[in-house]
Symmetry: C2
Subunit: 349 residues, 2 copies
Amino acid sequence: MPFDSTEHPHRRFNALTGEWVLVSPHRSKRPWQGQQEETEQDQRPAYDPTCYLCPGNPRVGGEVNPQYTDTFVFNNDFGALTADVPTGGIDEGGLLRAEAESGVCRVICFSPRHDLTLPQMTTPAIRKVVDLWVSEFATLGARPDINYVQIFENKGPIMGCSNPHPHGQIWAQRTVPGEPAKEGVQQLTYFQEHGRTLLSDYLKIELEKKERVVLENEHFVVLVPFWAVWPFETIVIARRPVQDVTQLSEPERDALADVLRRLTIRYDNLFNISFPYSSGLHQRPTDGQEHSEWHLHMHFYPPLLRSATVRKFMVGYEMLGDPQRDITPEFSAGRLREQAEMHYKGAVE
Amino acid sequence: MPFDSTEHPHRRFNALTGEWVLVSPHRSKRPWQGQQEETEQDQRPAYDPTCYLCPGNPRVGGEVNPQYTDTFVFNNDFGALTADVPTGGIDEGGLLRAEAESGVCRVICFSPRHDLTLPQMTTPAIRKVVDLWVSEFATLGARPDINYVQIFENKGPIMGCSNPHPHGQIWAQRTVPGEPAKEGVQQLTYFQEHGRTLLSDYLKIELEKKERVVLENEHFVVLVPFWAVWPFETIVIARRPVQDVTQLSEPERDALADVLRRLTIRYDNLFNISFPYSSGLHQRPTDGQEHSEWHLHMHFYPPLLRSATVRKFMVGYEMLGDPQRDITPEFSAGRLREQAEMHYKGAVE
Ligand SMILES: O=P(O)(O)O[C@H]1O[C@H](CO)[C@@H](O)[C@H](O)[C@H]1O
Ligand SMILES: O=P(O)(O)O[C@H]1O[C@H](CO)[C@@H](O)[C@H](O)[C@H]1O
């Protein structure tokens, strides 16, 4: 009996982080009697007078939102990072080590419409979000006290999102956090050895094989990575090895908006719900170095496994050992490829 | 203004894994309007005819459980790891890499009583669980095809536990997973430099400071680690630097049962609920090496933050950047120290 990755438990190597994931394809047959997630029908008004992100409404900090018409960005009133931190730290024998961290947390409203989400917005409207990412990355990244800019979105209550108004966040800080740091090391090693970015060569293989590709356009490819941890995890890879969003041409920015729209529509169509996920861009540190090894990409980490109500729990073994998944990345890619690119609710805007 | 770790955002270094956590003490003041967890009153019968873990009941695989009177262990009918895996793998340019993984998944029933949890069991009954860990670690670890044994418990539906019958699991496998591998590297480096285990020296500092210690007895100390990620995360550290549970003396095994009972009672008393968590032992790999650098310990990772219904979400920034926490480890340790060691439901057994 030869090894068969669709049948036998195996480990896959994450070339981007240098870590492993345990894949147990046979395990998707187990019955589930555990926690069922709630699915609310996502019926919201276009404007909610109690929402602190809607245009014209007051925020917790007291400020009043402008009557914005596309995107809107402001400093988080309860940011995890603040700018006015005195330097200092603790070091006891290398065992108790802490250091002050400074930065800024921003909130980005994607649309004035309280009732929309990315997959229900038009491509030009999503393009406005991309433009805001570009200008924010440029402005924050230029600050001498900011060496890394993390742009992300938590979508859905199951992902800790406390307001359904379509929005994302930016946390920008002095140090490079662990995840991009690991990706930086792997990318640098590869770049030094091959003179090409790791993701360029990876993308080439994936485009030949096709089995994990979900969708593509002229400038971006979306696929379920070979090493995906979350059941329907995807990665959006720029065909051109750019280091950050500021380097994207006009057509590339349009193309990014296009794949984001098509991907999130497919996600919603998978279980006919507003599909929860955390997503985020990974880009070069803004420490003034060139970082030619860095290749712009975006991760989507959705928690759902079998249906709108059954999620994947990253718990015991995953917290203490390695991440583990039950269905193969190839199976997930197939399911996402099957989905239509017309939203199940029809055109909204 | 000097740096103050109770006020200012900072990063803490996890000496055991070499990773960092972002601590944002000021952020605990933010209002929470997000998802509320359900709390069921945990009323269960001592015997449930539909439970596949209760004595005398049939399991999904068809086998019938014996009329066990203390603990009971069997092979998981839907294990993520199986023994009969052909060797083999994939390697395409170091970018697509997979390798077959073999192992075994076991389920450990802690008690025949469907209605109990660890904090409601007597110390002698918990000692029986410890004894089972010892015998399982010895038997599995002796197998040439098993190089690492992960013992853990997922408690509560919020932790993906699909059956409330008190039970834990063991996943034992050919390779050493990522988490213990990282801890192994850090411990080895420290041991080679100092001739003592990392956790011996760390424990010494914590016992001097006292501010993160929750409880102790002659052989074990429970504390909130300086680098804790989860709001009420704790670590149980053996005072004697043993490498695995088989090296524990009789009094040490009793002492482990004692701290587990006292800790889980405090957890339940914190919010007056059956407190959810994932917990697990970290021990030396069973690859035949001595691993004097390894120091036996047990992690508790509970998801709850402010109350029985508000959890900490490890989402966007945490998945893409670094883990982040809102309350300080010192605050959490204080809250756990305040709790009584008599279970809020009274004595059960
Ligand atoms: O084995 P169980 O209890 O069915 O499953 C639970 O624990 C496993 C090990 O941590 C996880 O992989 C699963 O996601 C979780 O639901
Ligand atoms: O910032 P929010 O949306 O209030 O909070 C959410 O996202 C943050 C960043 O991923 C997390 O730290 C929080 O746990 C989560 O609830």
